[in-house]
């Protein structure tokens, strides 16, 4: 029961990631792509933690935490670059 | 005094994070984590000064709990608002940037206020300059600063003023 519901939840999350990826590819401006990248970073972090649950290996939770940290720094660095402050 | 409070709070925060990371707890890990947290928090360049703005009186603690619930309520309401606007066939938006004012002075209070505004229904903080806060509002209801402040800031400010001046 719980596994089925969680599988459906993960499938819906992947669909949301695909929609954000469509905006990332379509643009039309760099700032739109960066907003899409921000959303994709958060969704991917959650998906990595979900993968830890599927594979049963706790190390992937740590991978997700580090990915969230690095993704945040990357998005802020891109935003600062677009602003002209870097 | 203020820096000592900041360092003790930073030490506690580090220790709580350590305890959450080492999920099946054991006594040795707790002691080792406490020693390392003390050493790190009292390093000369450790950036703990932000936490020194926090007040710790009984009234401030009550307001902290109340602020937590106000924040959760605002977060859920803002998501329902986003769901309504995104799924509505006509996209009912009327965006603009309005200026509001805040009385908060401390860096921690201003950080929490900016984050709270971003997560409340229909608003995103764009810029903070002195006491002026510029807010992107997805459906502008009031353009003059006074009524916009009343609508966006006041609900959080009365809690944040008590928590961290």
């Amino acid at each position: 029961m719980a596994d089925t519901v969680f599988g459906i939840a993960t499938a819906i999350t992947v669909l949301g990631l695909a929609l954000a990826g469509y905006r990332f590819l379509k643009g039309p401006w760099a700032i739109d792509r960066t907003v899409a990248l921000d959303v994709m970073t958060i969704i991917t972090t959650s998906l990595i933690v979900a993968f830890a649950l599927f594979s049963g290996r706790r190390i992937y939770v740590d991978v997700g935490m580090v990915y969230g940290l690095v993704g945040f720094v990357g998005v802020v660095a891109l935003a600062r670059y677009l602003e002209g402050g870097l | 005094m203020r820096t000592l409070k900041a360092k003790i709070l930073a030490m506690l925060a580090l220790w709580v994070v350590w305890m959450l990371l080492t999920a099946p707890w054991s006594g040795q890990e707790a002691i080792a984590g406490a020693i390392i947290a003390i050493l790190v928090a009292f390093l000369p360049l450790f950036p703990a000064s932000l936490l020194g703005d926090l007040k710790l009186g009984p009234k401030a603690l009550v307001y902290m709990v109340a602020y937590f619930f106000v924040f959760i309520k605002a977060l859920v309401l803002s998501n329902l608002d986003v769901a309504f606007r995104v799924l509505h066939p006509k996209l009912p938006i009327d965006p603009g940037i309005v200026k509001v004012r805040t009385r908060l002075k401390t860096p921690l209070g201003r950080l929490l206020l900016a984050n709270s505004i971003t997560l409340t229904p229909g608003t995103i903080t764009v810029e903070m300059r002195g006491e002026d806060v510029f807010v992107h509002w997805i459906k502008v209801a009031a353009t003059d600063p006074e009524s916009a402040t009343e609508a966006i800031v006041t609900g959080f400010e009365k809690y944040l003023e008590v928590i961290c001046g």
């Binding site: 939840a9 949301g16 990631l17 958060i42 945040f72 | 009327d94 965006p95 940037i97 995103i124």
Partner: protein, 124 residues
Amino acid sequence: MTAIIGAFLSLIGALFFLLSGIGLIRMPDAFNRMQAGTKATTLGSILFLIGIGLQKPEYLGRTIILVVFIVLTNPVSSNALARAAHGYRKHIGARLEPDALAEADEAAEVASKTTANKEAVHGD
């Protein structure tokens, strides 16, 4: 029992992730995309990660750290993006009916120009 509650929490969170994706597609300019993206992903990741923590209690500590981190940093990155987007507001064709920030920028520019002129006149 907690596993089933956790799975349903994750399902609600996943629906908010989907909502953020739809918002990114449907909204007309970068500011409004940010509105949909930031809010929906914040609540979505809170529910999704806490749901995972409830399904497997040994992950709960780490997912709580991750949730606190996301709640603190997601508004910060969207604030940085909003400031960057305001610099490009004419290029991206953002409709901003009252634009108080542009007015404040213009006022500051005019003020600095007049003081510069006065100094120039003084210099002569």
